[in-house]
């Protein structure tokens, strides 16, 4: 994860303002833009939340929660949203009103309470079995300015990456195919694997795909729907 700071003058000025007001614990106003950097992946509804430092929606090398699994296998963020709401997080849901298409952005504002010092994000990536784009607990700066964070693709470790059309329900094999993706995803593949040897959240190894839309071993298109990290950019302006 790379973090790039911008506008030092603005930062200096607001540091001065903060010093004069001498309070850094008030609620902050965040303007956030999430950009899908890929040319062939769709993001399902994105959930973004400011939460306290002891909460996580996922952690690397830990097992996925059921709520995370539900999001990563089927794109359903409702479990994560209620988990976050119960933890008094400030939550934004589904800023793109549906799928966030390749190279598209979605913007929204989020006001975080003073205790909610960390920012996290998740959305399933399609086509995939249990891949997601994620951010785990980025520390929200006290200093006003615009910050850029690049996000990677993760594998929830909960489902074998067979790369075949199938189900978005947890415990059921295959990838969900919502109507807008119907034409771009192949069919009748024989399957890449029925194994998932690493059941912890890890960096996604990428999809294999093939070049046969009607048969072959994968229903993923290997010249369009692969990726390399990073796959998303988050621009956060702290007012």
């Amino acid at each position: 994860m790379k973090v790039i700071k911008k506008s030092p003058i603005k930062i200096a000025l607001s540091a001065l303002t903060l010093a004069l007001v001498s309070s850094t614990t008030m609620a902050q106003e965040l303007s956030i833009t999430v950009t899908n950097l890929t040319q062939g992946l769709h993001f399902t509804p994105v959930v973004t939340a400011a939460h306290s430092s002891d909460n996580h929606i996922f952690m690397l090398s830990e097992m996925a929660t059921t709520e995370l699994q539900t999001m990563a296998e089927g794109g359903d963020i409702s479990g994560l949203v209620s988990m976050l709401t119960n933890a008094d997080a400030n939550v934004n849901e589904n800023p793109a009103s549906g799928l966030l298409a390749p190279s598209m952005s979605a913007s929204f504002t989020l006001t975080n309470d003073s205790a909610n010092t960390h920012l996290s994000l998740a959305a399933m990536i399609l086509p995939s079995n249990d891949g997601f784009v994620g951010l785990d607990s980025w520390t929200i700066p006290d200093t006003a300015g615009t910050y850029t964070v690049f996000l990677n693709a993760y594998d929830a470790g909960t489902e074998a990456n067979n790369e075949l059309r199938g189900s978005g329900a947890i415990g059921e094999a295959g990838m969900p195919v919502p109507p807008p993706l119907e034409a771009s995803i192949g069919m009748n593949g024989t399957g890449i694997t029925d194994m998932e040897s690493n059941d912890k959240v890890h960096i996604h190894r990428g999809s294999l795909g093939d070049d046969d839309m009607a048969a072959g071993k994968s229903d993923i298109n290997n010249s369009v729907q692969r990726w390399l990290n990073p796959i998303a950019k988050l621009t956060i302006t702290v007012q």
């Binding site: 994860m1 690397l60 090398s61 990677n152 693709a153 594998d155 470790g157 890449i192 694997t193 194994m195 040897s197 690493n198 059941d199 912890k200 890890h202 960096i203 996604h204 190894r205 990428g206 294999l208 071993k217 290997n222 390399l228 990290n229």
Partner: protein, 246 residues
């Protein structure tokens, strides 16, 4: 930054010595008894400051075990560079996972290693200490063992500015040591995917360290490969966190 820091430390030591010396002088000057026999002035023993660090490394890959993690503290230098040939100890480490020559390098001021490989989805924590005031630079390196010569790590990172209990974290990408062709062929990969020989002193690749382009695997059309789609990886492969504990 190193120069400044070292200068500060040395300056501090010198002034400490001067202070002790001047106290001794004052003591001697005050003692003007004729019977006084001057004793040899024993130079003050300056106890060297010890610095300790806790280093946690997490394997972020799906199916690439990491070879025993080598950790070194050393002076201001890089143990590899993009566009330069790998040293023989780095070649051995990145082709076979054997870090013994790398850890034995004379330029290392403190070293440690994990006892065994670090499997995917797991972490290891190592502690390292030094009293050497110049040991301000960190190198951590490990091989992705189901490859010909891929490694991940960081080298020559200045840690002199770390405060006590301060933590710093990195997500690390994968390098290719450039010392062995990425043919993924049977007998050339030391990890469980193959169990082949690791180190071969012949250099049949670019002989330049660069970023790794990933493995291809037989599932993706490299017919001679013993690797499967499961061994493919993307950056970052490693999460590294260092905390200064003393």
């Amino acid at each position: 930054m190193l120069t400044f820091n070292t200068y500060k430390k040395m300056n501090h030591k010198i002034s400490h010595q001067l202070l002790v010396a001047s106290i001794l002088t004052v003591g001697l000057a005050a003692c003007n008894d004729n019977d006084y026999t001057p004793e040899a002035v024993v130079p003050p023993v300056v106890t060297p400051m010890e610095y300790s660090y806790s280093i946690t490394l997490t394997n972020l890959t799906y199916a690439q075990p990491l070879s025993p993690i080598a950790v070194s503290l050393h002076g201001d230098s890089k143990m590899w560079q993009i566009g330069q040939a790998a040293s023989v100890p780095l070649e051995k480490l990145s082709e076979s996972g054997d870090n013994s020559d790398f850890l034995a390098l004379a330029t290392n001021m403190a070293t440690t290693s994990s006892e065994g490989p670090v499997p995917p989805g797991t972490s290891v924590t190592l502690n390292i200490s030094t009293t050497e005031s110049m040991a301000n630079y960190l190198t951590v390196v490990t091989m992705l063992v189901n490859t010909n010569d891929a490694f991940s790590g960081l080298t020559g990172v200045d840690i002199s500015t770390l405060e006590l209990n301060q933590e710093k974290s990195w997500r690390l990408n994968v390098y290719d040591s450039g010392t062995e062709k990425n043919d993924e062929a049977a007998g050339t990969i030391p990890g469980p995917a193959d169990g082949g020989v690791g180190y071969d002193s012949a250099r049949n690749d670019t002989n330049l360290v660069g970023y790794h382009s990933g493995v291809v695997s037989k599932d993706d059309g490299l017919s001679s490969s013993v690797l499967t789609q499961a061994h493919r990886f993307d950056n970052p492969a490693v999460k590294l966190t260092i905390t200064r504990t003393k």
